[in-house]
């Protein structure tokens, strides 16, 4: 099969992918949208219960470590940036650079997990657990589920860092790389919403 024609338009420095290009396998997007919908239910559930007890939620929110929240947002956005550029490098067949960027993105993800562990640990030491009140139940539950996504995403990005150097960058390989990268970016954008809902105290 000749993938040359399909790749040709993207084989130049700084080229955009062709128009009408699905970033990854279309089937993966069914899963990604499903995940986004599930998190939407989380977001709405939180917001509805918050509306029933705004004072409790605001007061509880003040106990969250906003420095950790901002740091984690910075780490998530940085890792997404690395992964996006890693995909671009793969398109240009600069596989060594691509692998390095995937590994850097992975490192940012690891730092995110470490910060989260410190954050949860700090809370637990203060006696703040999921059973403390409704706000903290949602906090632990939704950030915990997100953290599991981060761990899975790290495995995906880790695999991509070696997969990108395993053979010729043909259309199929590029599609697989884009699928994995898209999952990581969805994990990033879900964190952006969680950060806004839980951490930003007004």
């Amino acid at each position: 099969m000749n993938y040359g024609a399909e790749l040709h338009s993207s084989k130049c420095r700084g080229c955009e992918p062709q128009v009408d290009h699905v970033p990854g396998e279309p089937g993966v997007w069914v899963l990604l949208f499903g995940d986004m919908l599930i998190f939407s239910v989380f977001f709405v559930t939180y917001a509805v219960h918050r509306g029933d007890n705004v004072d409790l939620y605001r007061q509880s929110q003040s106990h969250l470590n906003q420095v950790f929240g901002i740091l984690n947002t910075f780490l998530m956005l940085s890792s997404s940036w690395c992964v996006a550029n890693a995909v671009e490098m793969a398109r240009m067949e600069r596989t060594a650079s691509s692998a390095r960027l995937f590994r850097l993105g992975l490192l940012c993800g690891l730092c995110f997990v470490v910060v989260k562990c410190f954050e949860y640990g700090e809370k637990v030491r203060y006696g703040i657990t999921p059973s403390t009140n409704e706000f903290f139940m949602y906090y632990y539950l939704f950030t915990g589920i997100h953290l599991m996504h981060v761990v899975v995403g790290m495995a995906v990005v880790g695999i991509l860092s070696s997969y990108v150097q395993k053979g010729v960058i043909d259309a199929r390989r590029l599609r697989n790389i884009e699928s994995g990268a898209s999952f990581w970016h969805v994990v990033d954008l879900l964190w952006i919403v969680l950060f806004a809902l839980f951490y930003i105290a007004v």
Binding site: Q18, H21, S40, V44, L197
Partner: protein
């Protein structure tokens, strides 16, 4: 990054001011979400159906959250 810093709000004296600040935080968050969708995921060069679904999700969830946050004012 600028959007993250922009949404770093300090407390407002009035409850109305607080409410508007909360809405601003949500809007900034979903502006960031849209940037991730368009620039990182490259939805802007995706087929129309994917572009529409992705943006509809962002706009829809943002609108629903703003509506729910505004409930005490209904």
């Amino acid at each position: 990054m600028a959007a993250t810093i922009l949404s770093w709000e300090t407390g407002h004296a009035s409850s109305t001011g607080r409410h508007y600040a909360e809405i601003a935080v949500l809007i900034v968050a979903f502006v960031k979400v849209r940037i991730v969708l368009m620039e990182f995921i490259e939805v802007r060069s995706a087929p129309v159906i994917l572009k529409v679904l992705a943006q509809a999700w962002a706009i829809g969830v943002c609108a629903v959250l703003i509506a729910i946050y505004g409930r005490p004012w209904w």
